[in-house]
Chain length 343, copies 2
DNA sequence: AGCTCTTTGGAAAACGCTTTCCTAATTGCT
DNA sequence: AGCAATTAGGAAAGCGTTTTCCAAAGAGCT
């Protein structure tokens, strides 16, 4: 039942309770200093009666810091990132942290802007979720901002992005893709095509490299014209798959470097009348939960997405280390219906 | 290239530029008051040289407000909500708004807490994305918080939640479900089952009600035992579908009140050996983009999710109205492969 | 040349807290 | 009973901005 009159501040509460500002503050923020039971009660009552709500900005000023953690992702509507975001939000809540969300729409240059904004907000920490990496100039700008942020006392963690001045959480894309490749070879596949995502995306590149490594161990190669770049999205997958068919290539198995692209490819193939999975096998990467119901169910590499976010937040909450830390997570190959044993 | 020494504030900038604090402030925040070209330049240089970053909390205090907009959703990893979130983030950015994200994990009582937190943060606006509605007590608590928030000058908008003291964006669930039902009848279906989501969720209930209305127009009923409640999630759909089969019911078509449940049901049916879509048709609701690639592709009702977020934000940015406004969006039936004409 | 208007710059108040520094009062000793 | 040590409350100094209020200087008149 709110009292409707203007803003109520601590002074009002103190006056109402008949105590000093200092006492009111001490009662309300559970400070170390003790306050007599009687006054404590009076203050509590007054605050309740006036429906007092402390001003977070004022507290931030006085305390010299906030409980804000900034989360910067390339695209919050992509299930890969929204899963990570969910785990971060979930884990942040019990610590009383407030999450600020920025979605860069996969425009890398905005990451630096957001970091700057977060510094201005006096955010306590930043979690940066992986993005492009090849443009050295932009990367340098980002590094500079991060540096400025951390020297100002902020904590930074990155997911899937090496070489940043921050604690980082890494997915072992390369070894995961390697293992997947070997599994596919074991299933009998020899002729592969890869929907490789953007050429300048580290994650995508690592997966391609690992995949080729795995094949090569068994003497299998994938020609350059069987590798198609495209956006790291569902539509990117659809288009790359269409392009593949148009080139007249006839692989036995298509590896899309992430699940989102893989399901796009599934539709593309189906739209062209390809009978899945018998005529063509498809594999993905990530094991996105909300995509587990597609048919044929995707063979993929499971990444512990929730743990990624958890760990990144853990870094922020830990004591700062002198050198930046790295935590690696492995993927696990999951074989499903989209890649039946060949023949 | 950050300067590494402690925090730099406006006073430092002013001193470096040899001007007063007031002048520095005026230059840096593009105030109305004009400042001579020479001083302006000196201040700019000083700020750049010191890598000055204004303190957002201090600005909030002095200005008496922030550029924060709070977004409260039931579950950010659900594509329905992450799509809305994405549209809000995207539209907020050009206005210089900062989005704070709270995910209640579908625990309704936390909405009120988050609103309280947002009031404390002096957030400029709140977008509350639909949740339960039947517990009058909790609803009252939420109303009280919202009331307190708005009388303190904040703006509130709700999506899919009526009867809140806020501008609201409504999806016409009922008419959408009605149209879907009629379409299904036209395709020849007569025996239906419904995976109805949680009984206390308004959205779910409206869809069920509308669906029945549509059927009734053609003299078709769906018995109570063919309506199965469950969680509004993928697993909820899977379980409800399993339950349906265990009951030995043999509908011709199953309507899941949202797509996420529908794809869960798809898997459940497939796991039990039901041949889709010929043996059993399935329809959903929402037309979630990332689920468009499932097979059989879902017949569903398309909701303009992006527009929902856009409109909610629009309400926040508009001049406040004396009475709270409502904007309704209609859904559009989309028939796909999961409901082939019967026979 | 003597006025009154504009500009332009600075001093200082205000925003709402937290926390240090005092002071008064109580407690625990001897 | 007298003193040190502890406890509880208040006054006031920040925290980093924005913005009002003044004053000085220059511009435009007659």
């Amino acid at each position: 039942m709110p009292r409707g009159s203007g803003k109520v501040n601590l002074v009002d509460v103190a006056r109402q309770a008949g105590v000093s500002l200092a006492t009111a503050s001490r009662v309300l923020n559970g400070s170390t200093r003790s306050v007599g039971a009687e006054l404590r009660e009076r203050v509590r009552q007054a605050a309740a009666k006036l429906d007092y709500s402390p001003s977070a900005p004022a507290q931030a000023m006085a305390r010299g810091g906030t409980d804000v953690v900034g989360l910067v992702v390339p695209d919050i509507s992509d299930p890969y990132f929204s899963t990570i975001a969910a785990s971060i939000v979930r884990n942040a809540e019990p610590h009383g942290l407030i999450i600020t969300l920025a979605s860069t729409e996969r425009r890398f240059e905005r990451e630096a802007e957001y970091v700057a904004s977060l510094r201005s907000q006096q955010a306590r920490g930043i979690v940066l979720v992986g993005s492009r990496t090849t443009n050295e100039e932009q990367l340098e700008a980002l590094r500079a901002e991060l540096e400025a942020y951390t020297t100002a006392g902020g904590r930074a963690a990155a997911i899937g992005q090496h070489k940043l001045p921050a604690d980082t959480v890494i997915v072992e894309n390369r070894s995961g893709a390697r293992a997947l490749a070997e599994e596919l070879v074991a299933l009998g596949y020899r002729r592969f095509a890869v929907l490789a995502g953007p050429a300048d995306l580290l994650t995508a590149r690592d997966r391609l490299v690992g995949f080729r490594e795995g094949l090569r161990r068994h003497g299998v190669e994938v020609a350059a014209r069987d590798v198609i770049n495209g956006e790291f999205t569902r539509d990117g997958g659809y288009e790359a798959a269409s392009e593949l068919l148009e080139r007249g290539r006839e692989p036995e198995c298509v590896f899309a470097v992430n699940d989102v692209m893989a399901v796009g490819a599934l539709s593309a193939f189906r739209d062209r009348g390809v009978r899945l999975p018998d005529e063509l096998a498809v594999a993905g990467f990530d094991d996105i939960a909300s995509l587990r119901d597609v048919w044929p169910s995707l063979t993929t590499v499971r990444i512990p997405l929730e743990r990624l976010g958890e760990q990144a937040l853990g870094f922020l909450l830990d004591e700062p280390a002198e050198r930046s830390r790295t935590r690696r997570f492995r993927g696990e190959v999951v074989v499903r219906a989209s890649t039946p044993p060949l023949r």
